[in-house]
Symmetry: C2
Subunit: 174 residues, 2 copies
């Protein structure tokens, strides 16, 4: 809900952020993917204003991230569940959680563990290259203009940290 809409910027981060760059939206998705589906439960769990919750849910439904579904007829009751598009935000939440665990967990350790059912172990999720499976970090990646980009000096893409560090002006002593 940025005043200046980011939906038309040629950057997938900006486009995603236009929807997901809002604290309440993130937490709503966390809750929905955690199994909280009903309006009142969400409102109570989050401590969010009901007005804002209604607005966020409407936006998420409009964007195809959630769907509003009648789950009983008498009395008629609706709830919200994640679409495939919404479920894939799981990766973003995991990344956020991993970062929060790493930098904010106290001495006791992180507040939650993620168990990977396929291998049966508690996991530390990492971003991996879809091609070779090795971890991708700011240091071993670089960004290049893609086919759908308005390539040019104004185009912002997620880029190389090391390269930018190297090209960054350093102290110019006399």
């Amino acid at each position: 809900m940025t005043r200046t809409s980011l939906a038309d910027v040629a950057c997938s981060i900006a486009r995603a952020t236009d929807l997901f760059g809002d604290a309440w939206t993130v937490l709503i998705m966390r809750d929905v993917l955690t199994g909280i589906h009903r309006f009142d439960d969400l409102a109570h769990d989050l401590g969010i204003s009901r007005k804002v919750l209604a607005a966020r849910l409407a936006r998420l439904v409009e964007e195809g991230v959630l769907e509003r579904e009648r789950y009983q007829e008498h009395p008629p009751r609706e709830h919200y569940r994640a679409t495939e598009k919404g479920a894939e935000l799981h990766a973003v939440l995991l990344a956020l959680m991993a970062w929060g665990d790493r930098w904010y967990a106290g001495e006791a350790g992180p507040p939650a563990r993620i168990r990977h059912l396929d291998c049966g172990h508690d996991t530390d999720p990492v971003m991996a290259c879809g091609h070779c499976g090795e971890p991708v970090t700011a240091d071993n990646t670089t960004a290049l203009p893609g086919p759908g980009g308005r390539t040019g000096p104004g185009t912002r893409v997620l880029g190389p940290l090391l390269a930018s560090r190297a090209s960054c002006p350093t102290r110019t002593e006399p």
Copy 2:
């Protein structure tokens, strides 16, 4: 900058969101990790109000995500660069970008590609299990209370989509 601060909630997503659940903050980090380090350049690139930019940068420095550094003495000039803590937000940005690419890229394809320098290929970054290396999704993970959690009915952790779907009330036809 949520009115109700989330910093003390026993959930790493909420804690991370307290800082990173803001569109401008996300885009500032994208820019800094892309090589834009100076105040005016950020202001110009983002089209953000200078007041808000100053506030966000101060917060990010305070949180140890960025550091303000003098890069020349005459005249004195400062810029911002990512700390290790900040650089690790790269994973969150990648996840966001991957999601944006998948759901908002037009027919032309995504606006940018990420090249993985270690293997030399353009990559589709995926969340992988740090233990076995296989992909982690909403469907093959479950969340358990962690050592640092105030475990109890109020504790919210990122959870199992499938389980929640299974336990979710479905139509009760008469």
